[in-house]
Amino acid sequence: MIVPALILTFIITIFTKVPVAIALGFSSLVAFLVSGQYPLMVLINRLFSGMDSFVLISIPMFILMARIMNESGSSRRMFNFANSLVGHWPGGLGHTNVLASVIFAGMSGSSAADAAGLGRIEIESMNEHGYDPAFSGAITAASSVIGPIIPPSIPMVVYGTMSGTSVVKLFAGGFLPGLLLGLTLMIIVYIIAKRTPGFPIEKKANLKERWIAFKDGLPALVTIVIILGGIFTGLYTPTEASVIAVLYVFFLDICFYHELKLSDYGRLLYETALDTGMILIIIACANAFGWLLAVERIPNIMIDFITQLNVSPLVVLLLINAVLLFLGCFIEGIAILVILTPVLLPIVMQLGYNPVYFGVLAVLNVMIGVVTPPMGMSLFITSRITNIPVMKLSKAMLPFYVSLIGALLLCIFFPDIILFLPNLLFK
């Protein structure tokens, strides 16, 4: 009775105005009440322990750092640096847009920070240079997917917490897939530019201009070294790295940029906590939901079912990827990770897949969801900045969907793209 009550209530509530967190919490509550098997106090215990994690503290830190960078001009400097390198390629600012997102991804952990902060700079600059607004919006949204794939990454922190997988290894695993995403997007930009008559192009920067842009962007670029260098050498944990990075970007603004006032910091801290609260309440409620699925042995039942089907592991893996991709279109990515990680991980491990490999794939799947309608955060943000309706924007994104899915398939069929770095760094 427990599982039907849980699933049924969840399906009824999730597609209504009831927030995702409450759909999860309320269906768990109904399941507890229907069964009478577990005391309700266990529910409180699951809610609390879902939030009680040291690794999760990195979430507000990464959000705060990206916000400070966006508002103190660091992101603009990175954009200029990227432009001095690739702006003259056919596709112009389209390439700049992708490269800036790749660089920014080395400091930020979410696609929203990329689309909302850096994205605004990218779109404004592309509008000034006469690019088709739909193209600008589309490439900005598409490249924002790279943010949570290249470390640091908030969804990977969440997956790592839920699955007990090393966040550091996941971070290492996301590195090459993130670069691959950037590469496939640039190829599409190149093809579009070649096939569109009169596509704008930028002047090539000379060595001196590049040096100036590099010097200007250098303090911001050091953030990448501080975060990734510290984490991968084992000098400090991802949470500690996130705190040091916050202090560093704060120090940069206080000492050099002087773009933020004390009241701005108050606002940034406040907004960061609201964003964190929205994520954490989903994690807390999903933790109760996932616990019920686990004690009712749903993963084991599914493993038995799949073993009986007698199909190859790759087919199952592809099917799981398709399900994640499909759900990502409707449900917030982090919620999917929190609900499904405890269910899916035992299955893929039974099939012989590496948890780091699966984690990066799962994150990639649900993050492609942030740019697909009807429910895609980055798509909404870019639509708001460009004033282009979501449906029109997603039509302009069609070629980029092809490249995102293409990169995903490459990662599925060539696991070394994900596993090469973790294996190299952590023997």
Binding site: T13, I14, F15, T16, K17, V18, P19, V20, A21, I22, A23, G25, F26, L29, L40, M41, L43, I44, N45, L47, F48, M51, D52, S53, F54, L56, I57, P60, M61, L64, L235, Y236, T239, E240, V243, I244, V246, L247, G266, L269, Y270, T272, A273, L274, D275, T276, G277, M278, L280, I281, I282, F330, I331, E332, A335, P374, M375
Partner: protein, 158 residues
């Protein structure tokens, strides 16, 4: 009930908690990591303090975000409803939220009472102190939710 004043009251208290706790979390962890890197000394309590501050500030943030209708939802139904049906729909969904909040609040009091005598691992303070975050902010969310329902009736003149 003067809802505007009540909202502002919650928001200001929560805002103070958030900013103070977030700064404190950063300070504690910075202290921890720098003392470890430069003086090879680690504080056993730092991690625990940071975790509990984090829970408080997250729930405070969640409560304000709920007030501002920022919680993520997947609403594919309401745009297809008539005006009348929309009203009923709103009441039903908001009641679900309220039911969830109020039950969690009530049970969490019981939970805290049953945790009597338990101490945290590093600080050796009662576990009730971190646990209190749950009722403090869920009671706020219950009131906010109830207020939304009251407000709805007032607007419709019922």
């Amino acid at each position: 009930m003067n809802s505007k004043r009540l909202y502002r009251y919650f928001e200001n208290i929560n805002k103070a908690i958030i900013i103070f706790f977030l700064v404190a979390t950063i300070a504690v962890l910075a202290l921890q990591v720098f003392s470890r890197l430069f003086f090879s000394r680690a504080f056993a309590w730092a991690e625990e303090v940071a975790r509990y501050l984090f829970i408080y500030l997250s729930l405070a943030g969640a409560a304000i975000a709920y007030k501002k209708d920022l919680w993520v939802s997947v609403d594919i139904i309401s745009s297809k409803l008539s005006k009348r049906a929309k009203n009923v729909y709103y009441l039903v969904t908001e009641s679900i939220c309220f039911t969830f909040f109020i039950i969690i609040t009530l049970v969490s009091f019981k939970y805290i009472a049953s945790s009597k005598g338990q101490l945290t691992a590093a600080l050796q303070i009662p576990m009730a102190i971190p646990y209190l975050a749950v009722p403090i902010f869920f009671v706020q969310m219950s009131i906010i939710s109830l207020n939304k329902i009251f407000h709805f009736f007032k607007e419709k003149g019922i």
